[in-house]
């Protein structure tokens, strides 16, 4: 009985996380034709990868720490809570090994930045995506 409950709970959690991640979309400049998968996006936002697959520089754009879209991105794409991601960056920052992505206040700012800069990559709520940027599917 217990194991059935656990299995059921796991399904609920899995389902919840899938439906959440469907609400967040990775976006790049319309002219950016680099191939991106979830692993690469992870590496870019964790400061491990500084170049797109075509060799051009990456500039990840983060959202503010208290936004739901950030929490969703951290949880589902980076696979950790925002606090864990922040603990990860504190290790790099205070050892001079990295600088965390710039944070902006909302989806509109992310889209504005990315539409103007071919190097930028960010994420927004799926409902905010406009023609000014290119949505990337992570599959």
């Amino acid at each position: 009985m217990i194991s059935k409950k656990v299995v059921f709970a796991t399904f609920v959690v899995l389902f919840a996380s899938f439906s959440l991640s469907a609400a967040t979309t990775i976006i790049v400049h319309p002219g950016n034709s680099a191939t991106l998968d979830e692993k690469t996006v992870q590496r870019i936002f964790l400061g491990k990868e500084k170049k797109f697959s075509d060799g051009s520089e990456t500039i990840p754009v983060n959202q503010s720490a208290d936004s739901t879209v950030r929490a969703d991105f951290d949880e589902n794409v980076l696979g950790r809570s925002s606090s864990q991601v922040s603990a990860y960056w504190s290790k790099l920052v205070f050892t001079g090994k990295g600088v965390p992505p710039k944070e902006v206040a909302n989806d509109a700012e992310v889209i504005d930045l990315i539409s103007k800069n071919p190097s930028a990559i960010g994420y927004v709520d799926s409902s905010s995506v406009t023609d000014a940027v290119k949505a990337v599917s992570l599959n």
Binding site: D66, S86, S90, F94, T95, G96, K97
Partner: protein, 377 residues
């Protein structure tokens, strides 16, 4: 005042370049602790104390050009009356995407958490396990070469550090100076999916200057200068090695780290320390448990030399040999249980309860409660 001036001088230096971006970050650990009556541990006693392991730090870094970065870290420790010191100051040159070279005053990459040892926010403990992390040779003046890369899911970093260490420390309550020349440290870090594995080996020409030991060493020298030289740590080969392994499934983690120190031709005992820690992450809560062991109790060295001296000397010689080695001898085990609470993405609240057992003299056993606020900005 001098310190403030030094800081602004660095800031000025960094801002000298027209397009330099100056980043100012900081971190703070406020740690309070109290032991049970009559106990003492890590500088805490039965009266509550907020300064022993607290610290405040500011880091200023700036890009000199697109390949060079200057970093300075000013740290004020409560145990040092919050006198601020530049503990790190170095330049980093990113030679390629994989290779960087840093020069200046750096953290010795001895441990898994060496680099972020002072940033309480970066780990689950209130303070990193003292049995392993409490060493007097954490910073080095020198050069570090860093090579990192990945292949599939395997990420790796190799580091080679060379330089010189000078520091003061306390041995059995006596103040002492440490100097290690021609330091060479090699490390290899691997991350594969949820696993992290690390090995480190280091060596250096090690000298201890412990005034309290000088009179007995001189007595030994009257019997045989060679013995005095053998027991004194004077430009003697010191070795350090360590391994660590971690499995982090995000919802829970287990990790262990083992380190050893050996200065063969000296009074210093063969040293071996380790810890094992585990925790669970449940929302904002991370309860954890840690077991630590520190062993500098390998029996007195060099007693086999005694037989080579005439019988009347053997008694006093044995006494001297044992007496000189005794202050460094210790063996203890520590268990702590605690919890971290992520109050915000830059503030963590923690508390732990520590039970310390001295395996040689149980009169030193102690219990300690600590709580901490860790902040980063």
């Amino acid at each position: 005042m001098k310190k403030v001036f030094a800081l602004s001088a660095v800031a000025l230096l960094l801002s000298g370049t027209a397009n330099a971006e100056i980043r100012i970050n900081g971190f703070a650990n406020l740690v309070g602790g109290i032991t049970s009556s009559d106990d003492s541990l890590y500088g805490y006693d039965e009266d509550i104390n907020f300064s022993e392991q607290s610290l405040f730090a500011i880091q200023v870094s700036g890009d000199i050009n697109d390949r060079m970065t200057a970093t300075g870290q000013l740290v004020a420790r409560g145990s040092d009356d919050y006198n601020a010191d530049f503990e790190w100051a170095y330049l980093t040159y990113a030679a390629t995407d994989n290779v960087s070279v840093s020069a200046g005053r750096l953290r010795m990459p001895l441990f898994r958490y060496s680099a972020s040892l002072d940033v309480g926010y970066s780990y689950h403990w209130v303070v990193a396990p003292s049995s392993v992390y409490d060493v007097p040779f954490n910073n080095v003046d020198g050069v570090k070469v860093d090579y990192s890369g990945y292949s599939g899911d395997l990420e790796y970093t190799f580091q080679l550090t060379g330089g010189k260490i000078e520091n003061d420390f306390t041995l059995a309550g006596q103040s002492a100076d440490l100097e290690v020349n021609n330091v060479l440290v090699g490390t290899a870090d691997f991350t594969y999916l949820n696993w992290t594995f690390r090995v480190v080996a280091a060596r250096g020409d090690t000298s201890f200057d412990i005034p309290a030991l000088d009179p007995v060493l001189a007595q030994l020298g009257q019997i045989d200068p060679n013995l005095q030289d053998l027991l004194a740590a004077n430009d003697d080969d010191g070795l350090f090695y360590g391994v660590s392994l971690e499995y982090d499934a995000f919802d829970w983690f287990v990790s262990a780290e083992l380190t050893g120190v050996e200065i063969e031709d000296s009074f210093y005992p063969e040293e071996m320390n380790y810890y094992v820690t585990a925790g669970m992450r449940s929302g904002k809560w991370t309860p954890f448990i840690t077991y630590e062991k520190s062993d500098l109790n390998d029996g007195p060295k060099f007693l086999d030399k005694v037989a080579g001296y005439p019988a009347p000397f053997q008694g006093p010689l044995t006494q001297l040999l044992v007496g000189i080695q005794l202050p460094a001898v210790s063996e203890n085990s520590t268990t702590s249980v605690g919890v971290r609470y992520d109050y915000d993405t830059n503030i963590a609240l923690k508390m732990d309860v520590t039970k310390f057992s001295d395996d040689i003299d149980e009169g030193n056993d102690a219990s300690l409660v600590r709580f901490a606020v860790n902040y980063v900005f």
